[in-house]
C-alpha cells in the first residue's frame, strides 16, 4: 500500500511543494487527485464540496491539470495535435488542424512559451516537451497544475526557466503543486512544503520558515540519515584533480548507431585512467547509453578506434569485455543485469558461474556459492540477508546492491555504471556511492553515466558532457561548475580543459 492516511490542503494561488523519498507516496497522492488511482478510503473536497473523480476526465473538467514525470506525449504527433487530443476542433466533421495550431499558439503565447505548434514532438528537446505538457494542461483550463518531478530531466538552465514559469502561473492566480525530492530547489520556489513519509503527510511548513536539513530530517524520520540529503558535499571525499594511474581506456572518434537507426555517437573521444571516476553527463538520449554499450561490447562500433584494457575496442564482445576485466552495472537492471525469478545466489553467480567459488569443474559448487553470497550480502548490507530468496522479492535498492556487489566482487579494472542510483532511496544511494568510491580506491577506472547532475558532481574526478553524440565539454574536478555543465548539456561547446 503506497498511501495511508495522507492529508493535504491546497490553497488557491499558492505554490505548494510535496517532498519525500522515493516510494513515500508523492506520486500516488497526486494520481489520486488526478483521478488515475482510486482511493480505498478518504474524502476529497474542492471549494469546500466533496468531489469524486472517476477518471482524469472528471479532474480535467474541474480544472486540474497534471504534468507527469514521464511525459504523456505522443511522439509521432505534432505539438498542436498533442495539445488538442481529446478536444479537437473540427470543421464539418473533419479535424481543423489550422485552428488547432492557432489555438495552441495563442495559449502558448498567453503564458509566455515559445512553441512551434506544427513541430513533431519527437524532434523537440526534453525542456520543450515539458512546455508542451504544461501548455496541454493550461489549454484545458487548468487552474490547479500538478508537476511530478519536473526537473529530474532538465539542465540547471531549464530548471531555472521552469521555476520562473511556475512563479508566473502563480502570479496569474493559478495554483501549482510541485512534487520533488530536490530540497534546495523546492525552498527556492515554493510557498509551502508538505513532507510525506511512508504514505503519510508528516508535516506542512512554510518554505520561508524551514531549512534543507530540517526538511531532510522530516523526510527520513531520523536525524542521523538526514545529513546524507543535504545535497552535494562541497568536495567529495578522496577526489583528486589528476589521476596518475595507467590508462585503462583510450578511445578516439567513436561512432555508433542508435536503436532508431540514427547516429548516436558522432566522434566521441575519451580517456579513463585507473583510480578515477569519470562522469558522463548530458540530457537523456544524447549518446550516453550507446557509449556505455560500446564500452561493454553490447553495441557495434561504426567507426573510431580505441584501446580498452590492452586490447582493441573494435570488435569487442560482452564476453571479451568481461575477460579483460570490465564490470557493468547497466541502466535497466531487470533487463540486463539480473534474472528476477532466480534466487539471489544464482544471480550473484551469473557471469562467473563457471569459475570458483561458484563452480568446481563442470559442476555447480553449491557450498562455495552460498558462502560467497553470504559474505557479499553482509558486506553490502542487502536486506533480507537471504541467499535463496527470489531476487524479485527484494526492493529496487537491494537488487541494485546485489548487482553492484557481484560486479565489484569480480574486481574489475574498468567499471561501467549507468544511472547507478536511479529510483533508490537515500540510504541505498549513499551505500552505492560509497562502493563506487571503494572501487576507485582499489584502482579501478570507473565510467559513470548519470542523468542526475548532483550525482555526477558528487562523485566524478573528471566529467565529459555529451550532446548529440559529441563531447561538448570536458571538466577536471577543479573546474566543475553546475552552470557550465548545463550550458554544455544544451549544446554549447566549452573549452576542452
Amino acid at each position: 500500500m503506497s498511501l495511508e492516511d495522507a492529508s493535504l490542503d491546497i490553497a488557491p494561488g499558492e505554490l505548494l511543494a510535496v517532498v519525500g523519498e522515493n516510494g513515500a507516496g508523492k506520486s500516488s497522492l497526486m494520481n489520486v487527485l488526478y483521478g488515475l488511482y482510486h482511493p480505498d478510503a478518504g474524502t476529497f473536497l474542492m471549494d469546500g464540496k466533496p468531489v469524486r473523480f472517476k477518471s482524469p476526465r472528471d479532474a480535467i473538467a474541474r480544472g486540474i491539470g497534471m504534468v507527469h514525470q514521464h511525459f504523456m506525449l505522443v511522439p509521432t504527433l505534432t505539438v498542436a495535435e498533442n495539445v488538442v487530443l481529446g478536444r479537437e476542433p473540427t470543421k464539418r466533421g473533419l479535424l481543423d488542424l489550422d485552428r488547432a495550431c492557432d489555438e495552441v499558439a495563442a495559449t502558448a503565447k498567453r503564458f509566455g512559451f515559445q512553441l512551434d505548434p506544427r513541430a513533431r514532438v519527437d524532434t523537440l528537446t526534453v525542456g520543450s516537451q515539458q512546455k508542451v505538457e504544461i501548455v496541454k494542461a493550461l489549454h484545458r483550463g487548468a487552474q490547479v497544475l500538478i508537476l511530478d518531478e519536473p526537473t529530474a530531466v532538465l539542465t540547471p538552465q531549464e530548471s531555472d526557466e521552469l521555476s520562473q514559469v511556475m512563479r508566473g502561473l502563480v502570479a496569474q492566480g493559478r495554483t501549482v503543486v510541485l512534487i520533488s525530492h530536490k530540497l534546495k530547489e523546492v525552498l527556492g520556489v515554493a510557498d509551502r512544503v508538505a513532507v510525506m513519509r511512508r504514505g503519510r503527510t508528516v508535516a506542512v511548513v512554510r518554505a520561508s520558515e524551514t531549512t534543507v536539513s530540517a526538511l531532510a530530517s522530516l523526510m527520513v524520520g531520523e536525524g542521523s540519515r538526514g545529513a546524507a540529503m543535504t545535497g552535494v558535499p562541497a568536495v567529495a571525499a578522496g577526489t583528486q584533480d589528476a589521476a596518475t594511474g595507467p590508462v585503462v581506456l583510450e578511445a578516439k572518434d567513436l561512432r555508433a548507431t542508435g536503436d532508431n537507426g540514427r547516429p548516436a555517437l558522432q566522434g566521441v573521444s575519451l580517456t579513463v585512467r585507473a583510480g578515477e571516476i569519470v562522469g558522463i553527463a548530458g540530457v537523456d538520449g544524447n549518446g550516453q547509453r550507446e557509449l556505455a554499450e560500446v564500452l561493454t561490447g553490447l553495441r557495434k562500433l561504426d567507426g573510431g578506434e580505441g584501446t580498452l584494457l590492452g586490447g582493441p575496442l573494435a570488435g569487442l564482445t560482452p564476453a571479451l569485455a568481461k575477460a579483460r576485466g570490465v564490470g557493468h552495472v547497466p541502466e535497466d537492471r531487470l533487463a540486463r543485469a539480473v534474472v528476477k525469478a532466480m534466487t539471489v545466489e544464482e544471480n550473484v553467480a551469473l557471469g562467473r558461474h563457471r569459475q570458483p567459488p561458484f563452480a568446481r569443474g563442470p559442476w555447480v559448487d553449491f557450498k562455495g556459492r552460498r558462502e560467497r553470497t553470504n559474505q557479499l550480502l553482509s558486506g553490502y548490507d542487502v536486506r533480507p540477508n537471504d541467499p535463496v530468496v527470489a531476487l524479485q522479492a527484494l526492493s529496487g535498492g537491494n537488487q541494485q546492491k546485489v548487482v553492484v556487489a557481484r560486479e565489484l566482487d569480480a574486481d574489475p579494472k574498468l567499471l561501467v555504471v549507468v544511472q547507478p542510483t536511479r529510483g533508490l532511496d537515500i540510504g541505498a544511494v549513499a551505500q552505492v556511492h560509497e562502493r563506487l568510491r571503494d572501487a576507485k580506491a582499489r584502482g579501478a577506472g570507473v565510467v559513470m553515466v548519470s542523468l542526475d547532475l548532483e550525482e555526477v558532481l558528487a562523485l566524478s574526478d573528471r566529467v565529459y558532457v555529451l550532446y548529440e553524440g559529441r563531447v561538448t565539454g570536458h571538466f577536471p574536478r577543479k573546474d566543475l561548475d553546475e552552470r557550465a555543465l548545463g550550458r554544455c548539456m544544451l549544446g554549447a561547446e566549452a573549452g576542452h580543459g
Binding site: Y37, R57, D58, I60, M72, P75, T76, N82, L85, G93
Partner: protein, 309 residues
C-alpha cells in the same frame, strides 16, 4: 499485347477486394495497437458464414452476415487481448487455428469435403461508357466489392488523418498512457478498432465466397489473410500504402493465372508449383527487401495496463 494487359488488369481488380478489405481491417486494428494476426481466421469465418447464409437469403445480405461473423471472431480477440491482456500474437494464432479446424469440421459434417453448394454470385456491373475503352475497360464488369475496394482506402485515409477519431486511434497505438491521462478510454478506442477490423476482414472473406467463387471451399482463404498482413506492413500501416501493396499482390496473383493461360510453354520450363507459389514468393521477397522496421505503431502488441498500485 494490349489484350494480355487488359486481362491481367481485369483479374487483378477481381482478386484485389478481399486483400484490400483484410489489409485495411488489419491496419485499423494495429494502428490502435492491437496485433491482428487473426485476420486469416476472421476471413475464413466470414467466408464460411457468408456462403452458408447465401443458401437461404439474397447474396448481398449474406455478405453482411459474413462481416458480422468476422467481427464475432474479432470480439473474441478483443476479449482476450484487451480485456484479459493476453499475448496478442498467441490469441490471433489460436483463433486462426480454431477457424481453420472449425471451418473444416462444419464443412465436412454439413456439406462434405467438396465445399458448400453453389450460390448466386454477386452480380457484375457493366459500365457502358467504359467497356470499349482500351485498358480502362478493365474497370467494367466487376461486382460491387471491387468498386468498394477502390474507394474505401481513401475513406480510411480521411478517417485516420483528418478526423478526431483518427487522431485518437493513432495516439492510442503509439502512446496509450497519454490518451488515458487526457480522460479518453483506451479500451473503448481499441475495442472499436478491433471490431471494425473484424468487420473488414469478414467482408474480405465473404467476398471470396460470393464474388470470386460461388461457394466456400476447403482451403479458403488459403493464406490471403497473411498476405493482407504483409500488404499492411509493406504499406507501412497506412491506408493508401496498404491499398497499393494489396493491388500489387493481387497483380502477382493475376500474373500467375495469366502466365499459365497465355503462355502454356512456360509450364514446360517451370514447375506449376512454382507458378502457384508466385504471389507468396513475391510477398516474401517484398518483405525481405523492405527490411527496416520502425513504421509500426510504437505500442503495437503491448497490452494497456493502467498502473494502479
Amino acid at each position: 499485347m494490349l489484350e494480355v494487359l487488359h486481362s491481367l488488369l481485369f483479374s487483378t481488380l477481381d482478386a484485389a477486394p478481399a486483400l484490400v478489405f483484410a489489409a485495411l481491417g488489419a491496419m485499423l486494428s494495429e494502428r490502435a495497437g492491437v496485433v491482428s494476426v487473426g485476420v486469416e481466421g476472421m476471413m475464413r469465418t466470414g467466408a464460411f458464414c457468408a456462403a452458408v447464409a447465401a443458401l437461404v437469403m439474397p447474396t448481398p445480405l449474406a455478405v453482411l452476415v459474413g462481416m458480422a461473423a468476422g467481427a464475432g471472431i474479432a470480439a473474441v480477440h478483443g476479449f482476450l487481448s484487451i480485456r484479459w491482456r493476453s499475448d496478442q500474437v498467441v490469441s490471433g494464432m489460436a483463433l486462426n487455428l480454431v477457424a481453420m479446424a472449425g471451418g473444416t469440421f462444419l464443412l465436412e459434417s454439413l456439406y462434405g469435403p467438396n465445399g458448400t453448394p453453389g450460390i448466386t454470385q454477386l452480380s457484375r456491373w457493366n459500365l457502358p461508357g467504359l467497356s470499349h475503352v482500351p485498358l480502362l475497360g478493365a474497370l467494367s464488369g466487376h461486382s460491387a466489392p471491387t468498386y468498394l475496394a477502390l474507394t474505401l482506402p481513401f475513406v480510411f485515409h480521411l478517417l485516420l488523418s483528418r478526423t478526431p477519431l483518427g487522431l485518437r486511434l493513432r495516439a492510442v497505438g503509439d502512446k496509450p498512457h497519454a490518451v488515458a491521462t487526457l480522460g479518453l478510454s483506451v479500451p473503448a478506442l481499441r475495442w472499436g478498432a478491433v471490431l471494425g477490423g473484424g468487420l473488414m476482414a469478414g467482408l474480405g472473406g465473404a467476398v471470396l465466397s460470393t464474388a470470386v467463387l460461388d461457394r466456400f471451399e476447403q482451403h479458403t482463404p488459403a493464406g490471403l489473410g497473411f498476405m493482407a498482413l504483409a500488404a499492411m506492413v509493406f504499406g507501412r500501416w497506412t491506408p493508401l500504402g496498404a491499398f497499393a501493396a494489396a493491388l500489387f499482390f493481387a497483380f502477382g496473383n493475376a500474373l500467375r493465372i495469366g502466365l499459365a493461360s497465355s503462355a502454356p510453354w512456360l509450364l514446360e520450363l517451370v514447375p506449376q508449383g512454382f507458378l502457384l507459389a508466385l504471389p507468396y514468393l513475391l510477398t516474401l521477397l517484398v518483405l525481405a527487401l523492405q527490411g527496416q522496421r520502425g513504421h509500426a505503431p510504437a505500442a503495437l502488441g503491448t497490452p494497456y495496463e493502467q498502473e494502479s498500485r
